[in-house]
């Protein structure tokens, strides 16, 4: 073969390396033969070229891959046999199978629930067809080096942008102010605050599907309204509401609105929450023209860009729009932020997007993975610990010619079978508890068990978990040398114990961290709930000043007090549990013009200290009959007094919107908004701003039964406000609602820490059972030599507890740091102290001791004769 040039021989070498050896000789022979023929016919050059190409053409699957994949090893008989053996092994060791399956079931069920939740979070507002072109306008204000971002913008922003920028397809203001409207249709009356005002373009920007009506025109006329299907049914029953007219009562007047559209009920995965939409024109007309104040940030502005327009350049164009229109807004930039990021990435820190809800989602994902990992660790530990039992089987199989690969396959079959059993049970459990979990996390989650795709994913993950749990034990057990095993060498039970102990440490580490967070959350809730609110919540109720109540207020109040059910009545601008207004343009004597302090605004007529049991520490409460000038009085809280730098607050003058108010009292700080945050500066203005009153607070006389008082109240409400349905709110209930979110967090943390502890505990149970089984004889000998039950118990328990101690030492600082980070978001927070960790450690250790000691004591008590006699 000297004749052929180097390139064909190079090709032949490649072929030789790829081609199965059994075929190669004859192929090469044929190629060479052809070469010889070609050489005679065409000459050497062409012949070598042909040889080269012909050789390359042999590199094809039919040749190269021939006999590469032999399916004989995966012969279905063998596979059936693996499953047969696996199911027999599982059936023989019922306790261990149960521990494995139960542990995995808990882990997988938890993970399914968490990942369903996570999946749901990612679908929020992603269903809008043009979601990539929809943006929300934000303000970015620079104030003394601090950059603040917020997504509430002036009413005129959206219409201005639409007018001035050609690259904007449409823009809409949107505001759900939560004001109470009375809906009247014939005899049906509903008081609702769950609607929004928006521009006519809203329904074209977003894909909320209209069952009836035209998205382009539905919100065009001021006197129109769009209802959701559900609310329409509430109002009209089975009658077709489309085109009908309903009456709404707002600020003492009644307006007829025509129903121009019926929306399908909103999907659950949207951040928009409304039952009705009223055109913004309606509000504009009420206010005598559109609000043009660029300083009044009160609505959300949504913008849809034209297809193909450049987001960055639009952002540049709109940046200065607020500055141009208002002298005082010169520190405010307007920018657009994508709708698709609204749900999960809407936190800004110093002007830069810095996560948001996604941080919680990431934590949940980590939690879900951890649950599966600790369940897998159980399987790994129990399988490797019990390897001795399988050693003879492995040895015999190897001697009879089993490849290591087939042994690995066999053990993997076992773990996959376990995982599959757990997976099926978990899907069932998850399906059953899903409604409960949905209501807990307030997300309507669905597990679509009729969908084959879901089953596909489930199957894939089951196999994955099976392999994850089984691959290490399979490799370990199949590595035994048959000669040694069959000669009678014992694997000591503690061999591989370092790996095993390490895994136990990891398992209990997770558990420790979860327990620490559960304890800290619990303590934080207790701590804040016990916070002195500064007013008395019991026997205090509030009502909204609706319909005729503002007109009849004085008579209503007098009768409430005369009838004896009320001790004191005060009308205010907002409930004492909420802040409805704040301002940073308060003026006072000696104010530093550089300082920009945000004050909470609260209006009231008089006697707030007796109604809410506020503590006036300086000066006096307002009393209009005694001091008529109190209509322009103001009571400030301690924080305000400090913020304004008053040494002698009484008599000082405070200006707000051109009105002078004189300070008559200082009230001890009380919690108006969030009990988790520090008290903000607050001003309680008098009744000069009469328009401001929305709420009436009533302190019940404690000598009356509350139920009777409510009955009487209802009677009086009917008398003075016949149009509106009777409603009232207990302040203590409303206050408690501020804890609802945190309590959900607490419940979820508790549930998942319980699951984690349970899984880890199961593993510990399995391991200790086995350890004792192996050391039965040792225990017997120790007893014969005079060891006492207590001694032996201590020996065995301490040994098993070692990794748990290590876990507590290693992981509690991590848990501590995580909770420190979490607590940092609360201004009013509990101190983390050493006892938190001590409690968590103690809890984990006592659970572990309880699990271990039962078996240890039983083993230690056993009569050595029974354990030693058969040797």
């Amino acid at each position: 073969m000297k004749k052929s040039s180097s390139s064909p021989s190079f090709a032949l070498r490649i072929l030789a390396s790829l081609c199965p050896p059994s075929l190669y000789e004859s192929i090469e022979g044929d190629l060479l033969e052809q070469y010889e023929e070609d050489e005679k016919e065409f000459g050497e050059k062409k012949a070598s070229r042909r040889l080269f190409w012909n050789t390359l053409k042999f590199i094809r699957p039919g040749i190269v891959l021939r006999n590469k994949f032999s399916f004989n090893l995966f012969d279905h008989f063998m596979l059936l046999n693996y499953f047969k053996v696996a199911s027999r092994v599982m059936a023989r060791n019922k306790a261990f199978t149960l521990i494995n399956v139960f542990g995995l079931t808990l882990g997988i069920t938890g993970a399914i629930l968490l990942f369903l939740w996570i999946g749901q979070e990612f679908t929020y507002d992603q269903f809008h067809a043009d979601k990539d072109r929809i943006y929300k306008a934000w303000n970015r204000a620079t104030d003394k080096g601090n950059i603040n971002c917020w997504d509430v913008t002036p009413r005129v922003l959206a219409p201005t942008l639409q007018e001035q920028l050609s690259s904007i397809e449409s823009a809409a203001s949107y505001a759900g102010w939560g004001d109470q409207l009375l809906f009247t249709v014939g005899e049906n009356r509903f008081l609702k605050s769950t609607g929004a005002y928006t521009d006519s373009t809203f329904l074209r920007i977003f894909n909320f599907s209209l069952l009836k009506g035209d998205a382009r025109t539905a919100l065009r006329e001021p006197a129109s309204i769009v209802l959701t299907e559900h609310f329409a049914k509430e109002l009209f029953g089975d009658k077709d509401p489309f085109g009908e007219t309903l009456n709404i009562g707002a600020s003492g007047n009644t307006f007829p609105l025509k129903i121009t559209g019926i929306l399908k009920d909103l999907p659950s995965n949207t951040d928009f929450k409304f039952e009705y939409l009223i055109p913004f024109h309606f509000v504009d007309e009420l206010q005598g023209g559109m609000e043009r104040n660029w300083g009044n940030n009160s609505v959300a502005s949504y913008i849809k860009l034209k297809a193909g327009s450049d987001f960055e350049s639009v952002n540049q164009q709109i940046k200065d729009i607020a500055k141009k229109n208002r002298e005082k807004s010169k520190n405010i930039d307007v920018f657009l932020y994508p709708l698709t990021k609204m749900r999960l990435y809407s936190k800004f820190e110093n002007g830069i997007p810095s996560g948001g809800r996604i941080e919680i989602i990431r934590m949940l994902a980590i939690l879900g993975i951890c649950l599966i990992v600790i369940a897998c660790i159980n399987f790994i530990n129990l399988s490797t610990a019990r390897a001795q039992r399988r050693a003879k089987e492995v040895a015999v199989r190897k001697v009879s010619g089993a490849f290591r690969f087939s042994l690995v396959a066999q053990f993997l079959c076992e773990s996959i079978l376990t995982a599959a059993a757990a997976g099926i049970v978990s899907v069932g459990i998850a399906y059953l508890v899903l409604p409960l979990f949905s209501s807990l996390v307030q997300q309507p989650l669905k597990l679509d068990i009729a969908n084959p795709f879901v089953w596909g994913i489930g199957l894939t993950f089951t196999i994955l978990i099976g392999v994850l749990a089984g691959v290490y034990p399979a490799l370990y057990i199949s590595s035994f040398k048959p000669v040694k095993i069959l000669k009678g060498m014992k694997l000591s039970a503690s061999s591989r114990s370092i790996t095993r102990n390490f895994l136990v440490v990891v398992q209990f580490g997770f558990a420790v961290m979860l327990v620490i967070s559960a304890i800290v959350i619990q303590r934080q809730i207790n701590f804040v709930q016990n916070r002195d609110t500064g007013y008395s919540k019991d026997h205090l109720i509030y009502q909204y000043l609706t319909g005729d109540l503002p007109k009849n207020y004085t008579a209503y109040k007098n009768e409430l007090i005369q009838s004896g059910i009320a001790e004191s009545v005060t009308k205010t601008s907002s409930p004492i549990t909420e802040r409805w207004s704040n301002t940073s343009s308060i003026g006072w004597n000696g104010k530093d013009p550089q300082v920009n302090i945000l004050f909470e605004r609260f209006y009231m007529d008089e006697h707030i200290s007796s109604t809410a049991k506020l503590n006036i520490i300086e000066g006096r409460d307002m009393d209009l009959s005694q001091f008529p000038s109190d209509s322009t009085a103001v009571i400030i809280n301690e924080t305000s007094a400090k913020a304004m730098g008053f040494k002698q607050p009484l008599g000082e003058i405070i200006t707000d919107n051109g009105q002078d108010w004189h300070v008559v009292g200082v009230v001890k700080d009380f919690v108006l908004t969030s009990p988790f945050q520090k008290v903000e500066p607050l001003l309680l203005f008098g009744c000069k701003g009469d328009w401001a009153f929305n709420v009436i607070h009533i302190r019940f006389n404690t000598s009356h039964n509350t139920q009777q008082s409510i009955a009487k109240l209802s009677e009086l409400a009917k008398k003075y406000n016949p149009e509106y349905p009777f409603e009232y709110h207990f302040v203590d209930v409303e206050y408690e609602n501020k804890f609802a979110n945190l309590k959900t967090t607490q419940l979820i943390t508790n549930i998942f820490s319980a699951i984690a502890i349970l899984i880890a505990g199961l593993g510990l149970l399995g391991l200790s059972t086995y350890m004792i089984e192996v050391r039965e004889k040792e225990i017997g000998i120790r007893k014969v030599m005079g060891g006492s039950v207590a001694n032996i118990t201590r020996l065995l328990t301490v040994n098993s507890l070692k990794p748990i101690f290590i876990a507590i030492v290693l992981f509690s600082p991590l848990g501590w740091m995580a909770m420190k980070w979490w607590l940092n978001s609360y201004a009013y927070r509990v101190d983390l102290n050493f006892f938190t960790i001590a409690y968590a450690g103690l809890a984990i250790i006592s659970i572990s001791v309880a699990i271990i000691s039962v078996q240890v004591i039983r083993a230690a008590k056993a009569n050595p004769v029974d354990t030693l006699r058969n040797e």
């Binding site: 075929l23 004859s26 192929i27 022979g29 044929d30 060479l32 012909n54 053409k57 094809r60 039919g62």
Partner: protein, 106 residues
């Protein structure tokens, strides 16, 4: 025949194996096809087809003796099996039957 089918090229190669008898190996088949049918085909295609036929049980193979030609490499000689022959016969008969059904112009 039952479930096994032969493609057109497979049938051609199988026929050649039947014709060449003891001399049926890759390159010989390529040449035979060239001579008898006038069709030039690639050596690798013939090899792959032969292996496929072997998998289907239509031919069997064994290595022939070494000669001085072809760099001293041995030939892989293919022989047609009984089932291969039966297959060829069945296909031929099937074609004849179908052929008969075409109205013959005289």
């Amino acid at each position: 025949m039952g479930k096994e089918y032969l493609g057109e090229f497979e049938e051609l190669v199988l026929t050649m194996v039947g014709i060449l008898q003891e001399e049926a190996y890759g390159n010989a088949i390529v040449n035979e096809i060239k001579v008898r049918v006038g069709r030039s085909c690639n050596l690798s295609a013939v090899h792959v087809t032969l292996y496929r036929l072997e998998d289907k049980g239509m031919v069997k193979s064994n290595m022939g003796g070494a000669t001085n030609a072809r760099g001293g490499r041995r030939k892989r000689i293919f022989t047609i099996t009984n089932s291969g022959l039966a297959m060829l016969r069945a296909m031929k008969e099937q074609q004849m039957q179908l052929w008969k059904l075409i109205p013959q112009l005289k």
